[in-house]
């Protein structure tokens, strides 16, 4: 027995050795290209950060399996900001000051990303966010790039939804952070311009858990259609509480709510709700991404995983074209036109954001199903 075990162990060790040398042949011959990643990996918004980390991990694995970037393996240093701007700032300083990365991917929430923009400008580091969409970020720095279209596009998209539903009077419920306020303001302006009337703009707190009085106020406004922008946790709880209170308007949500966790939290009240999705998810590129993601993590990707996956690939592509330094990466990103990613076609505009398009979804029997290409 002892002998057999020893042989088996040797064989296993040999196998590991062979695998390691094979890997080295593929992407370990030269010094790695190191890039930074900052996101909400723990805390109340960890659901976003974790799924983006997985998208990035998948992209890195594929890039390195193909031989890296000109033979240099791509390496990502992951940092947690817990949705806290000051933690993000210290993570950024460590990545740039200690690890000397030319590019940082992050963060998720616009509020956190906004805190990083001045640092990116000052240190001449590329800051590329997968899903931050606040209009405040548009044109904020020559070093900033946003892979998801900004909220200006999303607010305008809501007006298209309102037109499709023949709605002229509606209420808005928005989470009280840069993201929620951004979407609310753009929608209010565009909706008014299109002849609509906003009955009430009701804010609700980030991290809040009890929204009954806010719902009561919206119900009292007589609104039959409610546009809601927020995070999964707060908005999901809010819809569930509205359902308990017997308030059942036509809900229209933003892209951040297009997640099974939201529908699960919101319960039956989510049925019939219209949700946006940034980018296009019915393409061959998305199906390939989704299959690889599921094979690797044994779970379906979230609607943020594909953006993080694209961000990582765009960064690798920019390093390949512009070289492993911040100025080269910036120039290469800015020149990106018509890149076909998992989350859609990417063309960076002058303000740093990609020009985007949206899919419309509807919740039916607890499932988010494709409804309409917006």
């Amino acid at each position: 027995m002892r002998g057999a075990k020893g042989i088996a162990a040797s064989a296993a060790a040999l196998g590991v050795f062979l695998a390691a040398t094979a890997g080295a042949g593929a992407a370990a011959g030269k010094t790695p290209y190191v890039v930074g990643f900052i996101n909400h990996l723990t805390g109340p918004a960890a659901v976003y950060g974790q799924s983006m980390m997985k998208g990035t991990e998948l992209a890195v694995a594929q890039i390195n399996a193909r031989g890296g970037i000109d033979g240099h393996p791509l390496k990502v240093i992951y940092k947690d900001d817990q949705l806290n701007p000051s933690l993000a700032v210290s993570a950024f300083n460590t990545l740039v000051g200690v690890d000397h990365v030319p590019v940082v991917m992050g963060s998720g929430s616009s509020t956190v990303t906004l805190a990083l923009v001045p640092l990116a400008t000052r240190t001449h580091t590329v800051l590329i966010s997968s899903i931050s969409t606040s209009p405040l970020l548009a044109g904020s720095s020559p070093w900033f790039f946003g892979v998801m279209a900004d909220d200006n596009a999303q607010g305008a998209e809501w007006v298209k939804v309102a037109k499709a539903l023949h709605v002229t009077r509606a209420a808005v419920m928005y989470i009280n952070n840069d993201y929620g306020v951004g979407v609310m303001k753009v929608f209010d302006k565009d909706f008014a311009a299109a002849g609509g009337k906003v009955l009430v703009n009701q804010s609700f707190p980030q991290g809040g858990t009890d929204f009954r009085t806010d719902i009561l106020k919206v119900e009292a406004s007589g609104a039959k259609t409610v546009f809601i922008v927020g995070h999964v946790q707060e908005a999901g709880t809010l819809l569930a509480q509205a359902g308990q209170m017997g308030f059942h308007p036509q809900w229209v949500g933003d892209t951040a709510l297009n997640a099974p966790q939201f529908v699960q939290l919101a319960g039956a009240e989510a049925n019939g709700m219209i949700l946006l999705s940034a980018g296009n998810h019915f393409t061959a590129a998305y199906r390939r991404f989704s299959a690889a993601f599921t094979a690797r993590f044994h779970e379906a990707p979230t609607i943020w995983s594909d953006f993080a996956y694209d961000t990582t690939n765009l960064v690798a592509r920019a390093i390949a074209r512009g070289g492993y330094d911040a100025a080269g990466i910036r120039a290469a990103l800015a020149a990106t036109r018509g890149y076909v990613g998992a989350s859609g076609v990417k063309t960076f505009q002058r303000d740093g954001f990609t020009a985007g398009n949206f899919d419309w979804y509807r919740v039916r029997n607890g499932q988010i199903v494709f409804w309409h290409a917006g």
């Binding site: 805390g43 659901v47 009701q202 858990t209 308990q244």
Partner: protein
């Protein structure tokens, strides 16, 4: 009837705060320090109940039992391991320890349960809604009122009418004299942690049914409850209850007029105005320290 409805929501919020606030005030009364792990103990109560219902298949009453007993044991363990060795170490040291224990609990729970947001649905017998004078009150909300009232009444009886309660109040009034007299002060302090934590566990279950359950929920719950304690008068049990109800109503009135994102700000404003007029809080005394009932 909207005013009445807002009042109902405010009282539900306040009842939840009250259960947590009572634990803060009891521990402050006896040890003169703010036990900042207390909100996280409530969070652990939520997860215990979640496990009892989900993984163990128990009903709600049994799950409440699991949370209450589990939290009482947790509270006693925290006192024994984290605070008792520091009892003569001044006020700042246990405060820092409390923050450490908080982080430990949050991260342990996240390690075991993950960061995902969870909910547990009320059982069918609490799923209904009744209309009281035009205001809607759900079964869960009635359960919250009833459970809070019973829990506070039992606590009042324990502290005010039993031998253990007399020993707790004696220890809170004058620790050195209580020791010299032979009062089992260590046991009294453990009992305070057990009682406060048991109520926090109950609050965790009730709050979880009304909202959502996450490993970080204890932070904001703890901060609101602490504000309620200061508002009511620190060290005073009736003060904690009254402060919690006032704060809950103020937050919801603020949410109506200014938007929900202002509710925390309204809470702080009410607190600041109260303390300007009555620095000792609504029901507090000018000589803080005694546990009053």
């Amino acid at each position: 009837m909207i005013a009445l409805q807002i009042l109902v929501y405010g009282l539900v919020t306040g009842a939840n705060y009250a259960l947590v606030a009572v634990g803060y005030t009891l521990v402050y009364g006896i040890l003169k320090f703010i036990n900042f792990t207390h909100g996280d103990v409530a969070m652990v109560g939520s997860f215990l109940a979640l496990t009892a219902i989900g993984a163990m298949g128990l009903g709600l009453p049994a799950a409440v039992g699991v949370a209450v007993v589990g939290c009482a044991i947790l509270g006693m363990a925290i006192e024994r391991v984290a605070y008792r060795p520091l009892r003569r170490a001044g006020r700042l040291t246990p405060l820092l320890t409390a923050i450490g224990v908080s982080l430990l609990l949050e991260n342990l729970v996240q390690l075991v349960f993950g960061a995902a947001i969870r909910t547990f649905s009320p059982p069918p017998y609490l799923a209904g809604t009744v209309v009281v004078a035009g205001a809607y009150v759900t079964g869960v909300q009635i359960a919250i009122f009833a459970a809070t009232a019973v829990a506070v009444a039992v606590l009042a009886w324990l502290i005010g009418r039993t031998a253990l309660g007399r020993q707790i109040r004696a220890t809170a009034d004058n620790f050195d004299l209580a020791v010299a007299m032979g009062v089992p002060t260590d046991r009294a302090i453990l009992a305070v942690f057990a009682l406060g934590s048991a109520l926090a566990g109950l609050a965790g279950v009730l709050f979880g049914m009304e909202t959502t359950v996450t490993p970080t929920m204890g932070i904001s719950l703890g901060i609101s409850a602490f504000a309620a304690v200061v508002l009511g008068g620190i060290g005073s049990v009736p003060g904690a209850v009254v402060g919690a109800l006032v704060l809950g109503v103020a937050e919801n009135v603020g949410a109506w007029f200014l938007g929900g994102s202002w509710s925390d700000g309204i809470g702080v404003l009410v607190l600041a105005l109260t303390l300007l007029v009555r620095p000792e809080g609504l029901l507090g005394r000018r000589d803080p320290g005694a546990v009053k009932l």
